[in-house]
């Protein structure tokens, strides 16, 4: 992103309720910048799809306002919003050919025939479907249908493309391939994308920014690196990636670093993004890949001895379950190699991690 990104969509204090009592989206303030790939990530029922539907104009906004290019979208019907949408099950028109599906938005805009043909063919080439224009959607594979939906949403050069779990129906391999293709298209076409998913891997690999939702509230917005490495709260830490957590109380603080006494009595040094006071309850978050077994002696402030409970072979690495600090569900990832092959159930090992990889969070 450039230094002063131009805001395309702005949600201002947006709320949504169906029954007047429970807000499915609450106090939403969010900006989507031009050219940005923003992902709304959250468990099902967290309100992310509702946000997309409000942006597309299919759900009324209960309170607050959504603007596009600084103009309110209130009372603008869906067909005038100029947003391309890729639906979860593609929503391809089964009675129209692939060509007719992609041409549909152009026909609605009364674009002359020759121009339509040109644009549709270009769009189909772009998604590698050149020559399949005469097929019906149900004669295509899932991945191909997905590409048609993409071409249809892009062909009329919309202001923004909305994608609602577009890869949910594909198998794992195809999904990963499409992730990369969508990312490439985004870069090539310099388009703005708002993407909804519950798959954290997808969110991390594709997005410029990720907004993590839970219970109708945004929990954290930031780059994939930020939300992974510096989770703002326990929900984010647990929802994204694997997480080991320890409970305890702040013993002392100095700068951004705290000493935390765990319930087991051990003391751990960790970093905190916000100032903490001594005596405050704290939750420590530690990613499994930051926990080293048999650490080299220097630069590791936290050292413990642990017992191996279980080793699970994962090919490139081993997942090791450890008992330590009064718990027996601490996970560490050990890269495959002679050292980790020697790990056996019941063996006592030295483990450690540096304070900067261990975050102090407020308990839930």
């Amino acid at each position: 992103m450039d230094d002063e990104p131009e805001v395309l969509v702005r949600f201002r204090d947006v709320e949504k309720t169906y029954d007047g009592r429970v807000n499915v989206v609450d106090r939403l303030n969010l900006e989507i910048c031009k050219g940005e790939f923003l992902t709304l990530l959250g468990p099902s029922g967290s309100g992310k799809t509702t946000i997309l539907l409000m942006l597309a104009g299919f759900e009324a906004v209960t309170a607050g306002d959504i603007t596009l290019n600084h103009r309110s979208l209130r009372n603008v019907p869906p067909f005038r919003r100029n947003m391309g949408i890729v639906f979860q099950n593609y929503a391809l028109f089964p009675h129209k050919s692939v060509f007719q599906n992609v041409a549909f938005p152009l026909v609605q805009r009364r674009i002359p025939r020759p121009a339509i043909r040109e644009k549709v063919e270009a769009a189909l080439r772009m998604v590698d479907l050149a020559g399949l224009g005469e097929r019906r959607p149900n004669q295509l594979s899932g991945g191909q249908q997905q590409r048609v939906a993409l071409a249809r949403a892009l062909v009329f050069e919309p202001e923004i493309v909305l994608m609602d779990e577009p890869l949910g129906a594909l198998d794992k391999k195809l999904r990963e391939q499409m992730q990369i293709e969508i990312k490439h298209l985004h870069e090539q076409l310099d388009m703005t994308v708002a993407y909804v998913t519950h798959d954290q891997g997808e969110a991390l690999t594709m997005s410029d920014r990720v907004a993590i939702m839970n219970d109708g509230l945004i929990q954290q917005v930031g780059s994939p690196h930020e939300v992974y490495e510096e989770p703002a709260n326990a929900f984010v830490a647990n929802f994204i990636g694997e997480n080991n957590s320890f409970e305890g109380r702040i013993e002392s603080t100095s700068g951004g670093e705290c000493a935390v006494r765990l319930t087991s009595g051990d003391t751990v040094r960790a970093r905190s993004a916000t100032p903490r006071a001594s005596g405050e309850p704290a939750l420590l978050s530690l990613r499994p890949e930051r926990l080293t077994i048999d650490p080299a002696l220097d630069g590791v402030a936290n050292r413990f001895s642990a017992t191996v409970v279980e080793v699970i072979y994962f090919g490139a690495h081993n997942r090791v379950r450890l008992a330590m600090a009064g718990r027996d569900d601490i996970i560490a990832l050990a890269p495959a190699g002679p050292r980790s092959d020697a790990l056996a159930t019941g063996k006592t090992v030295e483990v450690g991690w540096s304070p900067e990889h261990c975050r102090v969070l407020a308990p839930e």
Binding site: A56, G57, F58, P77, P78, F79, R80, R81, N82, M83, G84, I85, F87, Q88, N89, A91, L92, F93, P94, H95, F104, P105, Q108, R109, R136, P137, N138, G142, R152, A153, F156
Partner: protein, 276 residues
Amino acid sequence: MAAPVNATRGQHVWYWCLRLICALGFVFLIGPIVVIVPISFSSGSFLSYPLPGLSMRWYDAVVEPFPWMFALENSLIVATTVTVVATTLGTLAAYGLTRADFPGKPFVFALLISPLAVPLVITALGLYFFFARVGLVQTHVGLIVAHVVLAVPFVVITVSATLKGFDWNLVRAAESLGARPLAAFFQVTLPLILPGVLAGAVFAFVTSLDEVIVALFVSGPAQLTLPRQLFTGLRDQVDPSIVAIATILIAFSVALLIVVELLLWRSARQRSGKMD
């Protein structure tokens, strides 16, 4: 029902008993319809086999202007009008019933399809008294109105069933791509539910074409329909010309059956295509 393997003797006996019942059942269903067809080509006037010879003489009687061709014309006029009116009203209503909830919706649905459950004689009696007061007895309009009542539940049921499987996301997709609501209806919704609508229309047409009880009550000689003429013929004097007209109607049923099966097959194929 595959033949049992590793079965006891009793199971085998039972299996063949069931097969026999089924075979008799199918012969019973289709036999009478098949057996009368050749009689219509008989050169004699007995309604039995063996045929003395083959001829088309009974078909010549059928194509005489009166009564059969007159009755056929009336039937077609009435049935066509009924089909148009019932399909339009029924499709609108089914669309409204699926689009949103309103108070009393289950009751409204039940009311709309209730003509199916009320014995025809009772419907005929009510319509007869009603038409007598408003001057519709022995008019074409009266007969058409009466048949719309009987035909419309079929349209409501078939179109509702089709709409139940309809993916409303397609309408959203169309609107997001710039189609106005009316354009979205005509370009996306209607083409997709068309098989259901057409199947409903065929049902409406057949209902009117086959209806005799209400016609006996509310129509006069000028509205003589094919089933009424058949009824009169069967009651008074059964001759092979009745069998000839029956044969024509059977051929017509076969054609309709094929049309409806094709429609439903297409509709099912479209729906399954959407799923994968």
